[in-house]
């Protein structure tokens, strides 16, 4: 089977693979259906496909780790046909936050899946025994995985390749996912993670150890010479933008110094915004650990990933395909650790265990602050002396979390589980929104930009609205000086730009964050639209794409509303409103949020959300063609009105 987009489907000439794979692990059934062109045009792909499917299929009270939850893997139309398109979206209801769950993961799995002929894979039900799924073009199998259960992610990927196909791309879970740890992720081809929200636990609850794919098909393109024009224009834009070099040379770790300057690091559970990072920053990492800088997700002209090795000491020889900025931040400064040996070792350990290193270290950081303040003692945490920087304890606790042993069983239920266990006194030190830990850009350092953490459907989420790197400092602070009514317009533009790339399923970093200016970002987006139209044969405008982004932003809110999330859940922890963020080394500080409510009000106004409840407005949903959601929201609003 070669070209997936034949003449049988005149509404889409190419770009998409054309099929949906629907696997029910309870029944052991495998269904294939064609991608509906109207569905594709309305929801575009990636996050759009995920949101629509989950909105339609999941009930308001679905238990995230039950057979009733579904796990969706979705490509976008541009996967494999645009620069920096090695991304894939994973959707589910989150065990960690109970909100709408979505992950964005890099690598090559998406491209391979497209070559196998599928835009979407839906996993339902629960297998009685551990299994893995193999996809080789049209041939799909559900295979016994009893002897792989318990194995770490790296071993699992190698074993599946040996049994199925040595060139397969594999997504799998480690012990953490098997043990339903609320902050476990799905590991793709070692060291790339679909994470935040517990996708690993969802997969584990289905007794699904891995999914492996090989594909041999062509990817159809409507007008190949016009496609090539837009493709090469995007490459040219990257090569002319100096920001590309930052991405190449230092990758995400450029943020260490950038955020430290802005007093925006998350030091010691967000008690401080900056610290001495002279021994722990991107340059030191490059000099002492990195053996190859630059490795890429498929088709990336930046290739921000690097691979490192610990060269000496007790962890000598430990390899890591990273570490990325957020792992360094959470395993490092957040816990008062500055020893890169330990950070890299823990990063590799977490990767193997199947832990999400965005969330997992944060709950340890929370416990460390409770310990500092005397709210908990050694006896509460298996005898560990949880002082800042206790590297050994962190390594042991990571392992305990993955296996739900001792205190690890408490931490495995996420920050909300830990607060419940330690009691209400601990609550003020839980740095999260909706149960998702605050990412490593201290919220008070950017009052407009960081509204993304309060607003994002999956809880504190750095991907909700991407910044523009080079100008980020001045851009964000200038915007902060504007009245909320104006500054939140800017926020909406950033949010929309992020959603556009997440629908097309190209890289948010490459297209947005690693753009020198907003103009460069918009120029890239124009050519992405060019690729979409030349591939599909559509004639969408930039406004159509923006409308699709707006549609999905509000649809994700509607999913959360269905699950019971309201305005009161769109707030930061109290510390953000009551205390400034100090520096650990000098007298810099970021003031607390003072006009948060006003900003939130304007966000609701611009998005089409009813202000008091936080429920999407039915009128706005109808305007965007979401009629069934409009009816549901009418019912919710009716039930809430006095």
């Amino acid at each position: 089977m070669s070209t997936r987009m034949g003449k049988s489907n005149s509404s889409i000439q190419g770009g998409y693979a054309g099929s949906i794979l629907d696997i029910d692990l309870t029944a052991g059934s495998i269904d294939k259906s064609r991608l509906d062109p109207q569905f594709a045009r309305t929801h575009i792909g990636g996050k759009g496909f995920v949101a629509r499917l989950l909105y339609d299929e999941l009930s308001f009270d679905v238990d995230p780790v039950s057979a009733e939850n579904i796990l969706v893997f979705a490509n976008g139309p541009l996967t494999g046909i645009a620069p920096a398109s090695g991304r894939m979206t994973v959707g589910f209801r989150s065990p960690l936050t109970k909100t709408h769950g979505y992950n964005n993961v890099g690598g090559e799995f998406g491209l391979e899946l497209k070559m196998a002929g599928y835009d979407i894979v839906i996993i339902r039900g629960r297998s009685q025994r551990p299994v893995y799924i193999t996809v080789a073009d049209d041939s799909i199998e559900i295979v016994d995985a009893a002897d792989l259960w318990g194995r770490d992610t790296h071993e699992t990927i190698r074993a599946v390749r040996k049994r199925f196909d040595k060139n397969a791309h594999v997504a799998c879970i480690g012990p953490a996912g098997e043990n339903l740890v609320f902050h476990s992720g799905i590991c793709f081809d070692p060291d790339r993670y679909a994470a935040q929200g517990g996708s690993g636990a969802v997969m584990g609850s289905k007794n699904l150890k891995a999914i492996a794919v090989v594909g041999t098909g062509q990817i159809g393109i409507g007008n190949i010479s016009s496609w090539a024009f837009h493709y090469r224009k995007i490459l040219e834009i990257y090569l002319n933008d100096p920001t590309t070099q930052t991405g190449r040379q230092i990758g995400s770790n450029f943020l260490a110094e950038h955020h430290n300057r802005k007093n925006a690091l998350v030091v010691k559970n967000l008690q401080f915004g900056s610290t001495d990072i002279s021994e722990c920053n991107g340059r030191v990492l490059n000099e002492r650990y990195v053996k190859k800088n630059r490795s890429g997700c498929s088709l990336c002209p930046i290739s921000c990933q690097r691979s490192s090795v610990i060269r000496s000491g007790k962890h000598a020889g430990t390899h890591n395909n990273g570490p990325e900025y957020s792992s360094v931040a959470h395993l490092g400064w957040r816990l008062g650790i500055k020893n890169l040996d330990n950070i890299i070792y823990n990063c590799t350990l977490g990767d193997k265990l199947g832990l999400d290193l965005e969330n997992t270290p944060c709950v340890i950081g929370f416990a460390m602050e409770c310990y500092q303040r005397g709210i908990i003692t050694k006896e509460d945490v298996d005898g560990y002396d949880l002082v800042w920087g206790n590297e050994e304890a962190v390594t042991e606790i990571l392992r305990k979390i993955a296996y739900r042993e001792g205190i690890g069983d408490v931490f495995a239920n996420g920050i909300l589980g830990a607060v419940k266990h330690f009691g209400p006194e601990s609550e003020p030190y839980a740095m999260h929104v909706k149960g998702n830990d605050l990412p490593p850009n201290e919220p008070r350092s950017g009052k407009t930009y960081n509204m993304r953490y309060a607003i994002a459907p999956r809880g504190a989420d750095h991907l909700q609205a991407a910044g523009v790197s080079k100008s980020a400092g001045s851009f964000v602070s200038n915007v902060d000086d504007l009245p909320p009514q104006e500054s939140m317009k800017w926020f909406k533009r950033l949010e929309q730009a992020s959603m556009i790339v997440n629908l097309l399923n190209v890289c948010n970093w490459a297209y947005n964050s690693f753009s020198g200016t907003f103009e460069i970002l918009e120029e890239k987006h124009q050519h992405l639209l060019g690729i979409l139209n030349t591939a599909t044969g559509w004639e969408l405008s930039m406004d159509d794409l923006r409308r699709a982004a707006d549609r999905n932003i509000i649809l994700e809110r509607a999913i959360n509303a269905k699950y019971g999330f309201r305005r009161k859940e769109d707030y930061f922890p109290k510390r953000m409103y009551e205390e400034p963020c100090l520096s650990e080394i000098d007298d810099r500080m970021n003031t607390p949020f003072t006009d948060f409510d006003e900003r939130l009000d304007w966000y609701y106004v611009y998005t089409g959300i009813e202000k008091n409840s936080g429920i999407p407005e039915p009128g706005k949903l109808r305007e965007l063609g979401l009629n069934s959601a409009a009816e549901d929201m009418e019912r919710l609003l009716g039930a809430e009105s006095p």
């Binding site: 070209t3 070559m115 074993a159 041999t216 490795s295 890429g296 088709l299 290739s303 390899h319």
Partner: protein, 166 residues
């Protein structure tokens, strides 16, 4: 065989990121479609050590592929490239003896395919965003050696990884 006088493809291992833009360019140039699994230049990777590099025919002098072919399907061209005839049985010996793993399996036609330099203007070189590929006058011995060593290392590590797996 006399020393090379023709231009050759050269890969700079330190610049290549394994991004596969060259595969896109190759498929587009050769077939006018996006068909990665029929590209004549392909990325190989070892995840365990974070290694990646492209494999492609570099128009070497020695051409061990010619003698290795059990059915005599391979013959040299004037410009340093080789051609693989329809007699090819897809046994893969040519790829195994090639220091750069140059010949590639064509997944749909049970035949091996090989770089023809796009008729003198290799598009992988044109498109590569990292200047990791070039089409140049003879020379660059050291780079060819680095390329060869890396290809060999990745293939060896990948074999070992499978061997030691359950």
């Amino acid at each position: 065989m006399t020393a090379t006088h023709h231009k050759r493809l050269i890969v700079y291992p330190e610049k290549c990121t394994g991004c596969r833009t060259c595969e896109t360019a190759c498929s587009y140039s050769q077939y006018g479609v996006l068909d990665y699994k029929r590209s004549k230049i392909r990325m190989i990777r070892n995840d365990d050590y974070g290694l990646d590099i492209v494999t492609v025919c570099t128009q070497c002098d020695e051409k061990p592929c010619i003698d290795a072919c059990p059915v005599g399907a391979i013959s040299p061209n004037e410009d340093g490239t080789i051609r693989i005839g329809q007699e090819c049985t897809s046994c893969g010996k040519c790829k195994r003896v090639c220091p750069y793993s140059g010949p590639q399996p064509d997944v749909r036609n049970s035949i091996y395919i090989v770089c023809d330099l796009c008729g003198g203007a290799p598009q992988c070189v044109e498109w590569c965003p990292f200047e990791a590929l070039d089409f140049t006058e003879p020379g660059g011995t050291e780079e060819y050696e680095k390329h060869r060593v890396l290809v060999e290392r990745i293939e060896k590590e990948n074999r070992n990884a499978l061997k030691s797996s359950p």
